[in-house]
Symmetry: C2
Subunit: 430 residues, 2 copies
Amino acid sequence: MNMKTYINPKVEEFAEICERPIIESDELENTVKSVFREVKMNGDQALQWYTRNFDKVEISDFKIEARIIEDACRKIDEELKQAIILAKNNIEKFHASQKQGKEIITTSAGVECWQESRPIEKVGIYIPGGTAPLFSTVLMLAVPAIIAGCNEIVLCSPPDKNGDLNPAILYTAKLLGINKVYRVGGIQAIAALSYGTETIPKVYKIFGPGNQFVTAAKQFAQREGIAIDMPAGPSELLVMADETADIRFVASDLLSQAEHGNDSQVVCVSDNKGFLANLEKEVYKQLNKLPRKDFAIKAIANSKLVMLENKEAQIAFINEYAPEHFIIMTNDDEYYIRNVINAGSVFIGKYTPESAGDYASGTNHTLPTNGFAKAYSGVNLDSFTKKITFQRISSEGLLNIGPAIEIMAAAEYLDAHKNAVSIRLNRLKS
Amino acid sequence: MNMKTYINPKVEEFAEICERPIIESDELENTVKSVFREVKMNGDQALQWYTRNFDKVEISDFKIEARIIEDACRKIDEELKQAIILAKNNIEKFHASQKQGKEIITTSAGVECWQESRPIEKVGIYIPGGTAPLFSTVLMLAVPAIIAGCNEIVLCSPPDKNGDLNPAILYTAKLLGINKVYRVGGIQAIAALSYGTETIPKVYKIFGPGNQFVTAAKQFAQREGIAIDMPAGPSELLVMADETADIRFVASDLLSQAEHGNDSQVVCVSDNKGFLANLEKEVYKQLNKLPRKDFAIKAIANSKLVMLENKEAQIAFINEYAPEHFIIMTNDDEYYIRNVINAGSVFIGKYTPESAGDYASGTNHTLPTNGFAKAYSGVNLDSFTKKITFQRISSEGLLNIGPAIEIMAAAEYLDAHKNAVSIRLNRLKS
């Protein structure tokens, strides 16, 4: 099966080339609604029922006891522990640097305004189970939550056939001091975090990746008034490479993204047709050696090679695609850095593979897919806080801006708004 | 009709007292779905049909021509123009101060990470029609959009019975240099911004207040992949006042919020029972003089006076309520500033009425209602941007963090992720 190749497509064709496979969530909606209703009404009992039916395992105690976490930690190799600690330190450094101080702005004489960040008090972190135990996602979501000062961090992850969670997930939770860890997954986990049950606390915002069921559940949670990190879709990567790029490196990056799942998308843009042809050969060569090649082969078949001669067309295409991950390997990286508008995270140069950002460079790996980078940021420190504005007006300040407020309020026919100023100005003038 | 008074309620009762009236949006869903489907398929023709049926006016050209805007500007009093310019200047100053520089963080030697803000390229601004022509909302949404660098700002507002928009809305748009102004409102306007039509451009994010139809339409737009500013609900105000507060000022603030609509909510928390009893009398006294007293009287009937003796209980209640607007008039304002976690915007001291923030102090008046301040910020400069993370790793950097990435990727069974690092490390070691 060949990769789709486009040679100098016209601007009018960009939108079509950039289209992702459509994920229909409508048929899921009724399932999601009924799970939410049951969990709201019956709490833990409903969680047990759905865990028995969906996950095929009987769970009586959803909370993971400290003892079980201790046991899990003993199973982790020292080498892996050290790697996780290195990643944790880098993620901490980068997210701690995102803290903002407060700056008081005098907008008119006597009128002081400022913003302050406050933590979201209760957050939920969903860690998928399935084919890959994503302990790295525990770092990516819990580290900024802790730096932000969230005082209740609730972690849910689906139990395996034996009712257990992966030891590396438990080790990472323990390392970060998270002790509210629950073995429950899928729609029922998101419902539990949305409403609370006897054992699982209700939260104000839910973070984390997941399959189509979890994604649909998070969308429903949002309609129920719970904030979510962002809409989710399959992972994707776009590489911008010219003839100076190393074909083996580019191929390895495309494959690292393709192994996530059948529906992952990878794109390479280049000004060089020969480069793209050779790249395709190298991709299939490396593909054959991969344990997860069954996933990757399907994702590669969905993927695209785009030849565009001039830089303006390349960056226009890239901004239309709005990739989750964007690797730049060219002889003029600065051009793309300066002109990229829509992307989740950008990887610059030959020694910056996308997997560095997945684990250990320090940036967050929870990023907008499916073109959502046009309007959404990836998860960052701000995702765990909200900003409150403050204003303090002196008597002088109100004399300065009060008359404008009175005039504007009257013009909007809001007399009580006007009156709240007039009653004070009258006092000041009397 | 009396205001509901609670004397020293227990902590367990807080959640119930803080409940807002439930707004059922389910019955609207089918209407919203069919309007969206029609607008997606038939574009302007569908807009005309719905405008005829919902707004009872025939519109053939949705775009407001420059000539009409010029005419409208001539109708605005010089006094109102100057008031709008004063407000614009303060809003500009405050939102421009929210710009963030880029700071490069070296997380490990040779590993550089940073964040940069980029504008959301296309944004839609919805300005409601109805009983109050909210030209102030044009300032609150368009000023930060312009500072952020959004290059397409599309303004929609419902036409009146004659097919016109309020001149003050047009004047404000003109003042800010916005020339994409369309006379279309309600569900069909949000659908047009979501999909685009022959005349109205598609946008990536939709901002602005609205009635229950607009709110339901924005929620549906979100399911269609369009970002929105925040979930909306009726406006609300909580005043924290002790016996040092001026009862006339507090009453005027409560009424300024109550006049927004029948469903507005106002709350006063105090440590002083006598103060609350006198406040209630003053509210009814001022109420009788208001032109919009029919709205205000119903909102006042929904409202609450809460006596709580100690400060810890007061702030716990306030954080549970999570008010959109929070006024502090006490002899220890700093205590509440320090301890408030959940609020949209805070107004400090006797000369800082809530209406100052609605118009001219400089802070934004698009704020989270309905308890959403627990997880959402009000609109600010960030609302019009998204943050992209960048990383640049040197060969030294990859030698430092590469082995940790290999170990973590292998532990997550993601061998192609590991391989993207190994292939580079092998090159460096060879």
